[in-house]
C-alpha cells in the first residue's frame, strides 16, 4: 500500500525526498494508535519528522519503520527537533513536525515551542506520555507537559482514547496553520499508542471549523474605506510590515500597494525580505538597532500603516513616545493585537494578503516624494557617520562577510541567523531582496536556534543554498547538530562571527553597566578540529582580505562547512536605542569608561 520515499540525488549533492501519500482507504481497518498516528501524518502530507525516541514513544517508533515515506531525522537533542520543525515551517509555510518522548524529551522541546509561539510559526509536536493508569502518579519520566506547555502553545491535547487520535491529529494541524499560526502539542500516552480501533481515512473534521482561531476574518468594507481616507490625507505616511506579510505570502500585494500609494516601507526584523531593500521605497528596519533615519521617520510620521506586526517593544522602544504624531491603521489577523500597544484609528482584523488586496481596490495613487526625499536626506547624513564607525580594515568585519556570502551565492541564499550582535549586523547589512530569505528567532531571541533551524530550512527547500550566520556563543548551544547534518547528509554553510564574547550582552554591559564584563568572555573549541571530528570541513579566517576566498571555498566544498571568522572582539552594533527609551534617542558612539 505504501511506496518508499523516492530519493533523488541532485547534481550538487542535495537530496530530494518525495513523500508518497497513502491511498485513501475508505474501508475501516483495525489499527493501533501508533499506526493511526502515522496514517494521520501521511494524510496531512508530512514529509519530515524531527525527533528522538525514548520509552513512552517507542510504539510510535516501532510503527514508523512501516511508513518509509515519513522521513524521520534523528536529532541529537530534542530542542533541535523543535527548531528544525520551526525552520522547515518558516521556509515552506507548511506545518513542521517534531517528536519526543515523555518527561525530559518533552521538556527539551519547550524552548523550541516557545520560539515558534512568539514568532507565530506552525509546528505540531507529538510527545509520548506514560500510560494512562500512571498519569499523575509521578511515574518514571512523567511530566505534565500539557501544564508545562500551556502558556507557550496555541493549543495542546492529551489523547485519552485511541478512538479520538486521528481527529486530534487533524485538528492539531488545522489549528497550527490556521488563523495566526502557532505550535500545537499532542501528548499521547503509551497505552493509547498500543490500543487498537477501527480507522477510516476519510475522517470528518468539520467540527473544527467553529474554532475562531483557525479563521481569517474578512476586512469590513467600512474599515477599508476609512483606511483609504486616512492614507489619502496623510502627509508623512509609512508602511510597517512584519512577519504577517511573509506568513500570508502577501509580497506582491505589499509591493503593489506601496507603489500605488507611494508610501515608504519599513520592515521589522521578522518582516525582513518581505519587501526588496533595493526598492526605492524601502527604508529598512526600525527600532532598537534600526538606522537613525528610519526611527526619525517614525518620529515624524503622521500615519503608520502596520501590516502583520505586533509593535514589539524592540520595535517601539518607549511605546508612549513611539510615532507620537501618527495615527495607526493596524492590519493583523489576531484581534487581540489590536490596541495592545498603540490605539489604532482603523483596526483591520484580517489576513494581510486579503486586506492589502482590498485596500488596493480603493486607494488612490499617491505622491509622497517630498516626504521620501526628506527621509533620504537624513539617511545620507547618517550613513556618512556610521561608515566611519563600522568599517575595520584589519579583521574580517561583519559587513564584508555578509557581502561575500551575498556575492558568492548570487543573492540566492537563505540566511538563518542566531541571536545577538551578528543577528543585528546581518539584519541591517545583508540587503534583503528575495522573499522569505531571512530566518531568525525574533520574538523569543533564542540562542542556539540557527543551526538546527537551518537543517529544517534546507530540507524544506532542498534547492536553496542555506547559510547559517551565528555568534560563537549561540553556535555552541546546539553544536551537537553537526552530527545530525552529517548523518543525514544535509548541507548547510556556517559562518561563525567569533569575537570571544557573548557580544550583545557585552555591548549592553559596555553601555549600561559601566563596562563590567561579567561572565561574557567565552572560549570555544578549535572549529577546524571540531568540524573534522564530525567528519565535516572547517576553516578559520583571521584577516579581512581572506574573507571572500574562504566563502568561495566553502561554496565549492561538498557538505557542511564551518568558517570561524575571527572578528574584532569589541565591535558594537550601531546605532542603538537604550531599552525603554524613545527610539528617536539613538546611541551612535561608545561611552568613555576609565
Amino acid at each position: 500500500m505504501y511506496v518508499a520515499a523516492t530519493i533523488k540525488q541532485k547534481p550538487d549533492g542535495a537530496t530530494i525526498y518525495q513523500a508518497h501519500r497513502s491511498t485513501e482507504g475508505i474501508e475501516a481497518r483495525e489499527l493501533t494508535g501508533s499506526q493511526i498516528l502515522c496514517e494521520a501524518l501521511m494524510r496531512e502530507g508530512v514529509e519530515f519528522i524531527y525527533g528522538y525516541p525514548g520509552g513512552a514513544i517507542m510504539p510510535f517508533y516501532d510503527a514508523l519503520t512501516s511508513y518509509p515515506a515519513l522521513h524521520h531525522i534523528l536529532v541529537r537533542h530534542e530542542q533541535a527537533a523543535a527548531h528544525a520543525a520551526d525552520g522547515y515551517a518558516r521556509a515552506t509555510g507548511k506545518v513542521g513536525v517534531c517528536v519526543a518522548t515523555s518527561g525530559p524529551g518533552a521538556t527539551n522541546l519547550v524552548t523550541g515551542l516557545a520560539t515558534a509561539f512568539m514568532d507565530s510559526t506552525p509546528i505540531v509536536a507529538i510527545t509520548g506520555q506514560v500510560a494512562r493508569p500512571f498519569i499523575g502518579r509521578d511515574a518514571f519520566q512523567e511530566t505534565d507537559i500539557l501544564g508545562v506547555t500551556q502558556p507557550i502553545t496555541k493549543h495542546n491535547f492529551l489523547v485519552q482514547r485511541v478512538e479520538d487520535l486521528a481527529d486530534i491529529v487533524h485538528e492539531a494541524f488545522k489549528l497550527a496553520r490556521g488563523g495566526r499560526p502557532g505550535p500545537v502539542v499532542i501528548d499521547v500516552p503509551k497505552d493509547v499508542q498500543f490500543n487498537t480501533t477501527q480507522y477510516r481515512a476519510s475522517t470528518s473534521i468539520s467540527s473544527i471549523e467553529r474554532f475562531r482561531s483557525t479563521r481569517a476574518p474578512h476586512p469590513s468594507a467600512e474599515a477599508i474605506a476609512r483606511a483609504a481616507e486616512l492614507i489619502k490625507g496623510a502627509q508623512r505616511p509609512l508602511i510597517m510590515s512584519g512577519h504577517g506579510v511573509i506568513l500570508a505570502n502577501a509580497y506582491a500585494e505589499l509591493h503593489a500597494f506601496a507603489e500605488k500609494t507611494n508610501v515608504p516601507v519599513i520592515t521589522t526584523l521578522l518582516g525582513l525580505s518581505a519587501f526588496p531593500e533595493t526598492h526605492p521605497l524601502a527604508l529598512g528596519m526600525p527600532g532598537m538597532h534600526g538606522p537613525a533615519h528610519v526611527n526619525r521617520a517614525i518620529g515624524e510620521s503622521d500615519l503608520i500603516i502596520g501590516v502583520g506586526l505586533r509593535f514589539d517593544d524592540r520595535v517601539t522602544g518607549k511605546a508612549s513616545e513611539f510615532a507620537p504624531h501618527a495615527r495607526f491603521i493596524h492590519i493583523d489577523i489576531d484581534p487581540s493585537e489590536m490596541h495592545k500597544v498603540k490605539r489604532a484609528a482603523v483596526p483591520i482584523v484580517a489576513d494581510a494578503k486579503e486586506a492589502l488586496a482590498r485596500l488596493m481596490e480603493v486607494v488612490e495613487e499617491g505622491d509622497n516624494s517630498t516626504w521620501i526625499n526628506e527621509v533620504r536626506r537624513w539617511e545620507a547624513e547618517n550613513s556618512e557617520r556610521s561608515e566611519s564607525i563600522q568599517r575595520n580594515q584589519e579583521y574580517p568585519d561583519p559587513t564584508s562577510i555578509l557581502e561575500a556570502i551575498r556575492a558568492e551565492t548570487k543573492d540566492e541564499a537563505i540566511i538563518v541567523t542566531d541571536v545577538g550582535q551578528h543577528q543585528m549586523w546581518t539584519a541591517r547589512h545583508y540587503t534583503w531582496t528575495r522573499p522569505n530569505s531571512h530566518i531568525t528567532s525574533g520574538g523569543l531571541g533564542t540562542m542556539g536556534f540557527a543551526l538546527p533551524a537551518a537543517m529544517g530550512v534546507k530540507m524544506g527547500i532542498p534547492d536553496a543554498t542555506v547559510w547559517v550566520v551565528a555568534g560563537d556563543g549561540g553556535i555552541q548551544m546546539n553544536i551537537q547538530e553537526l552530527a545530525t547534518l552529517k548523518q543525514e547528509g544535509i548541507t548547510v554553510k556556517v559562518a561563525i562571527m567569533n569575537n570571544g564574547y557573548l557580544g550583545m550582552v557585552r555591548q549592553w554591559q559596555h553601555f549600561f553597566h559601566n563596562g563590567n564584563y561579567s561572565e561574557t568572555p567565552i572560549t570555544g573549541p578549535d572549529y577546524i578540529k571540531l568540524a573534522d571530528a564530525y567528519g565535516l570541513t572547517g576553516m578559520r579566517v583571521t584577516k579581512r582580505e581572506d574573507v571572500e576566498a574562504a566563502v568561495r571555498k566553502a561554496m565549492n566544498t561538498e557538505g557542511t562547512v564551518l568558517i570561524d571568522f575571527m572578528i574584532e572582539s569589541e565591535a558594537n552594533v550601531y546605532p542603538m536605542v537604550a531599552p525603554g527609551s524613545a527610539i528617536t534617542k539613538m546611541i551612535e558612539e561608545s561611552p568613555d569608561h576609565e
Partner: protein, 198 residues
C-alpha cells in the same frame, strides 16, 4: 429586588469584631492600568468542558495579573459546556485585551463583558455562626428573615445560614452577623446575566 430595601438592622453586641478590610491586590509595575481608571468588570466565558480548558482560561488571567474578585464555574443550558463568571478589577483597556485573549482560547466559545450592560448579578453564601445561647438563636433567625436567608443546619453550638443576593447584600448580612461570632463563610462568587433579551 429586595436587596436595596433590606438593611442589616441588628444591634451590635458587646465586643464586636468588625470584618478586617480586604487588602488591595497589588500588581506592581502594571503598565496599562493607570491608577484610578480601574473598575470591577464582570466577564462571562462559555467554554467547552474539555481537558485543560479551565487551565488555559486561568492561565490568561494569571499572565495578565488580573485582580480577581470572583471566579464562579458551573453548567449552563448546553451539555458539555461550562459557564464561568469572572469578577475582576482592572482598567477598561486591559479588560478589552483580556477579552480578546480569552476569545483566542480554542475551547472558549463565547466571551462577554457584562460590565456596561444591564445585568442581574447574584451570589450565594453559606455562613456558620455561633449560637450556643437560645437568645442568640432567636436574634440570628430574626436577622436571617430580614435578609431573606434560610437556616440550613442547626447544632447545639452553631447555626448555618444560606443567603442569596448581590455581593453588597451578602457583605451587609455578614456585617450584621459579626457580633455573634462567624465560624465559617463559603461564598460562591458572582454569577451574572444580561437582563431581558440581550
Amino acid at each position: 429586588m429586595s436587596d436595596q430595601t433590606q438593611q442589616g438592622g441588628a444591634s451590635q453586641k458587646g465586643g464586636t469584631i468588625s470584618a478586617p478590610p480586604r487588602p488591595p491586590i497589588e500588581r506592581p509595575g502594571q503598565a496599562d492600568a493607570p491608577a484610578g481608571t480601574d473598575q470591577t468588570h464582570t466577564i462571562v466565558v462559555l467554554a467547552h468542558d474539555r481537558h485543560g480548558a479551565l487551565d488555559r482560561i486561568i492561565g490568561v488571567l494569571r499572565r495578565r495579573r488580573a485582580k480577581m474578585q470572583g471566579f464562579a464555574i458551573g453548567r449552563n443550558e448546553f451539555p458539555g459546556m461550562a459557564r464561568i463568571t469572572i469578577a475582576m478589577n482592572d482598567s477598561e483597556v486591559a479588560v478589552e485585551q483580556l477579552v480578546e485573549q480569552l476569545r483566542k482560547i480554542v475551547d472558549v466559545q463565547h466571551v462577554e463583558n457584562l460590565t456596561s450592560e444591564q445585568t442581574v448579578a447574584r451570589e450565594l453564601a453559606l455562613i456558620k455562626v455561633n449560637s450556643n445561647d437560645s437568645q442568640y438563636s432567636t436574634e440570628i433567625i430574626e436577622l436571617a428573615h430580614q435578609f431573606g436567608a434560610h437556616v440550613v443546619d442547626v447544632t447545639q453550638q452553631t447555626l448555618t445560614l444560606e443567603v442569596t443576593g448581590s455581593e453588597e447584600k451578602v457583605e451587609k448580612f455578614l456585617d450584621s452577623l459579626q457580633s455573634f461570632g462567624i465560624r465559617e463563610v463559603a461564598r460562591t462568587g458572582r454569577v451574572a446575566m444580561i437582563r431581558g433579551v440581550a
